[in-house]
Each structure stands twice: as C-alpha cells, then as structure tokens.
C-alpha cells in the first residue's frame, strides 16, 4: 500500500466515525426543530420528517403570544393566564438574580481564600469543597422549611422569587467559590505586588489587576449560575404557589402532559428556551475550559 492510499483510507475511516457521531448528536436536535416548524401544529406526530412540508412558525407564534391555558389564576378566565412575556420576566429575575449573587459573593470570597492567609482558612476551604457534594435538590427539605419560616410582605419567602434566588445560590455558591479561588491561584502575585508598589490600594489592585485577568473564571460562573436559574424546575415547582410567579422551565414541564402533549408547541418552547443559553455558551466558549481550573485545592 502506498503512503497516499494509506492516508486516504485513514481519512475515510475518520470521516465515517465522525459522521456517525454527528448524526447521533444532531438527531434529537433536528427532531425538535422539525416538530417546532411543522405547520400542522401536530398533536400526534406519527412519522419522522426532517423538514416538514410547508414549514411555518405557527407554533412559535402560539407560545410567544398566546395564553398558557395550563397556568392560569382562574382557569375559566383566559385573561388571567400567564403569557410568554410574564414567564420570561420571572425567569430572568431568577436567573440574573442568581448569577449576580453568585458572582459578587463568589468573587470576594474566592479572592480572600486565594490571597489571604488567615485563621480558619483551611477549614473554610475544605468546607466549600465538601459542600459541592450535594446539589440543591439535596437541600430541598431544609430550604423548604427555612424559607417557609421567613415572612416578607405577608407571604412566606418560599413562595416568592427572591426566595428561589436564595435557594439556588445556596447550592451554587460553593462551586462558584471553588472555581474562582482556583483561578485566582493561577494569577501571579507579582502583578499585584507591582501595582501595590506603584501606589495602588488593595482594593484597586483587586478591581484593576485581578478582575480583568479573571474574565474566563467569571464567565464560567456567570454562565453556570444563569443556567441554573434559567432551567431549574424542581425547587421552583416545589416552592412557588401562584401561577403569576411561574417560570419558563415550569411552563415547559406543564406542557408535557401524561396523555396529551402539544408536540409542536413543546418543541417550539424547547427551542426558545435553548437559544439564549446557547448564544451565551458560544459567546463564552473559549473561556469554558481555561476558566474551569479544577482541583485548585492546594496552596
């Protein structure tokens, strides 16, 4: 076999392998897209079609502008039903609130753990790593009980969106602190020392030197915390009571009935919920691996 045929055969084998992976990756995505674009707004898809005949955006129109008939304060009155804009507002409050809290608290705590040698540091750091073991779902019982005990404006905090933000943060913060601390560890201390010699205050070195260098880790924290708030279902479903406070994730689940799933609408809603996350993901993609400095336990 000549060198050339060998190279061609190798290329062929690689392409076959990678194409079959590609088909598997794309299959569920294309299925959802095809359902979402189906003009018949089908309730019961019985055939696989890649591009449905006469694709239309009817399903998107319906979910973006129509009322969600399963999420109404008064089921008899359509004007009390939630609309997409209301759900979006709630989702954004929760997602942005969670990322804001995670970034602010995580950054300052992560920086302190990385740079200061103080009494209780070792214990604190070990504590955080240990707390990553349990996801927020594992804290459901105490969070439910605790948030029910705090009353704000005549209602328990549990049934309000800020309560949800607190709950998400409790699960997410240890991870944020850990990631950020690990990343701060990789920034040479000499840079800060140089700034200090030039007359900058400690706070200035933090905001002007360390933070700009930490964009990858900050990006990862923002992305992950936003994603938590945007897609979390279990706590929201267990805590919230009023449909006016429901989020997009809850609406998506509500569409999946035991016996009747409005397939096209479900698919359209999935697409609408995925697109913002994907945009964020691809915008921050180059930071994702470098920002995830795993195992920054030592030091």
């Amino acid at each position: 076999m000549s060198k050339r045929t060998k190279a061609i055969l190798r290329q062929l084998a690689l392409q076959i392998f990678l194409l079959s992976v590609l088909v598997t990756v794309l299959f569920p995505i294309l299925w959802v897209l095809s359902l979402a674009l189906d003009p018949r707004d089908i309730d019961k898809p019985l055939k696989l079609t890649l591009i449905p005949p006469g694709a239309s955006l009817k399903a998107f129109q319906k979910i973006l502008f129509g009322p969600f008939k399963l999420l109404c304060t008064n089921p008899a009155d359509e004007s009390t039903c939630m609309r997409f804009a209301d759900l979006l507002k709630n989702s954004l409050i929760v997602a942005l609130g969670t990322s804001l809290l995670a970034v602010i608290t995580g950054t300052s705590a992560g920086y302190a753990f990385s740079r200061f040698r103080f009494i209780g540091r070792q214990v604190g750091m070990l504590g955080f790593i240990v707390l990553i073991m349990l996801p927020t779902t594992g804290l459901l019982a105490p969070l439910y009980v605790l948030l029910s005990q705090i009353k704000v404006g005549g209602e328990t905090l549990r049934t309000q969106l800020p309560g949800l933000v607190l709950a998400y943060s409790s699960g997410f913060l240890p991870f944020a602190v850990w990631t950020l601390k690990g990343y701060f560890d990789t920034i040479p201390r000499e840079l800060e020392e140089a700034a200090l010699i030039d007359g900058a205050s400690t706070f200035q070195t933090f905001t002007k030197v360390v933070l700009p260098l930490s964009v990858p880790a900050l990006a990862v924290t923002v992305l992950n915390s936003f994603m938590t708030g945007w897609t979390e279902f279990i706590l929201a479903w267990s805590f919230l009571e009023k449909p006016t406070r429901f989020t997009l994730a809850m609406a998506l689940r509500a569409m999946q009935g035991q016996f009747a799933t409005p397939w096209s609408e479900f698919a359209a809603m999935s697409v609408v919920m995925t697109v913002p996350v994907m945009i964020l993901f691809f915008a921050l993609q180059r930071y994702l691996v470098s920002g995830l400095t795993l195992g920054g336990v030592k030091g």
Partner: protein, 350 residues
Amino acid sequence: MATTEMTAPPQVQPGHWAQLRKRLRASRTAWLYILPAGVAMLLVTLFPYIYQIWMSLFDYRVRNLRFNLLDSATWAKYAPPFIGLDNYIKILNSQLAIENYDFQRLLAFNVTWTVSNVFFHVALGIAIALALNAKDLIGRRVYRSLFILPWAMPAYVVALTWRNMYDDRFGAINQLLAVINRTFGTSFPTSTRWFVVTQPPIGGLLSFLPLAFYCVLLANVWLGWPFMSVVATGALQCIPPELYEAASIDGATGWQKLWKITIPLIRPAMVPAIMLGTIWTFNQFNVIFFISEGNPFGRTEILITQAYKLVAEQRLYGVAAAFSIIVFLILLGFTMLQNRLTRATEAYYE
C-alpha cells in the same frame, strides 16, 4: 494543576507573641474582606446544611411546618420530637413505608449508573478528541463546533426532549426503528414501551438492569461526552509533537504511542474532570426524574430522585434530610478515596 505555590520569605523569628499578634492582625484584614461574602454564605449555604443535620435527627413532618425559629410561641407546640438516629436506621434497613423502596438496590443501581456513564463519557470523549486531533482532518472546525451542542443545551430541556423521543407511539426512537425496518427489511419491534418493560435485555449478572436503564444511559451519554471531549482536546494540544516524532524514530506503533505518551500526558487534566463528572452523574437528577421517572417499579430510581420524592410526595421532611446526608457522606467518602488513589498513582508516575 497550574497553581502557583507561594513560599513565605524567610523571616527573622521575632518571638512567639509578636508573631501571633501579627498573624491576628493579618487575619483581621482578611476577615474584613471576607465578611460580606462570609455572612451571605453563612446564611445561604452553611445554615441550610446545619439545619439539615438538625432536622435529620427529628421526626419532622407536615404538622411541624408551623414550627418557626423566629417565633418562640410556636416552639413548644410544634417542635418535632427528637428521635436520634432513627431516620438513618430506617433508611438503611429499608424500613420506610414507601412503595418499591430498597436502599441496597438504590445504592447498587446508583453506583452502576455512575460507573457506566462516566466510563462511556471518558472513553467516547477521548476517542472523539483523538479523532478530531488527527493530522489533515477535513472539516475539523465544523465537527468541533457541532459536537459541543449537547453540552451547550440545558440538561433540563434535553431530558424532556429525550423523554418525548421514547414515547411509545409518537416518539422519534420507535419511528426511527420503523424507518430502519422499511429501508433494510429488518423487523425490530416498533411499539416498545421503553419504561414499562420489566424483562431485562441482558440476563445473568446484569439482570437487575431493566430496558429503561439502557434508555437513560443512552440519553445521558449523549449529554455527557462533549464535556470530557473538550477537556481532553485541551490536554492533547499541550503535548509537544516532538515526543511522537521521537517515538516513531524508536519504532513505536500507534497503539504504543497512545498508551505510553497520550494517555499518561492527558491524565492530569482528565482526573479532576472525571471526579467532577462522577459527582455530577451520581446526582444526575434531570435525566432520571424526567426520562424514566424511576420506572419500572422504581428500578431506575437513584438516591437523589428518591430524596426528592420523600419531600414532594411523602412529605417526610426529617427522613428526607437524613437521606440527603447519607448521599452526602457516600460522595464524600468516594471523593476522599479517589483523591488518595490518584495521589498514590501520581507519585508512582513522577
């Protein structure tokens, strides 16, 4: 990991007391920095954990929800009765009055689920990263950007989508089988009810795994390998090509290069990713809860979904708290063990 180790500059010993005073003063500045974040975390993160431990020692039920730490009038009346380790004993001995509850089975399934998933994630992730790293590959950039799609999609949406794909009548999987039957003349069944079938597809040692297990496994492998692949790609690109050239000159085969150069050199990057992946998979709530829902008969239930059901369905808050702590301790033990193992082998390699 690239952490910069700081070595303290050599100091003249100024005596114990002065040193302690100095350390305390340094601690004070540090604590000032950490105070706002510290208070927030104490309230938001640490307090729920402590409360969880406290709750796990009590028979905490729905009526105890009226108990309020902030209102002393409720203390005597609604305080839950202390029962020591009863919750833990009941959980571990499978004495909870819940349908299909068996702790040993749950734990065995959870471990099987984690090991099989992480194995496929890592093996596929590395294999695909290697293929994408091959010299003169056509379409590398297209593949790379499309292959991270499963990672970029919210796991929650993906789980609901796969759930619908497994629908026995309207789902894509059965319809795909029908298409394959038509094209190739095969005769796969096309109306399988994936999560209802109790007959295990593989007998013998693996007969405790129902068909539903392979379905959720497939969905979670789809979801999980791109992360490992991205980590592996990053590590592969750091390997100097001279190593391979030198190995070729010495007459090494491709297989030898893989096991003697590639795998040992990407190992430091893969180990932490695998540890994280293991914890994530062990607690992969979305895939189990939304796709198989624990069916058939709770045989695909994992610990974390069971913990959720204890709160949401049974409303046994105390038991649920104890359950979560058991999950926590299992993972803690696992992490410590793995840490020790990897450290031991690292020392061996260096």
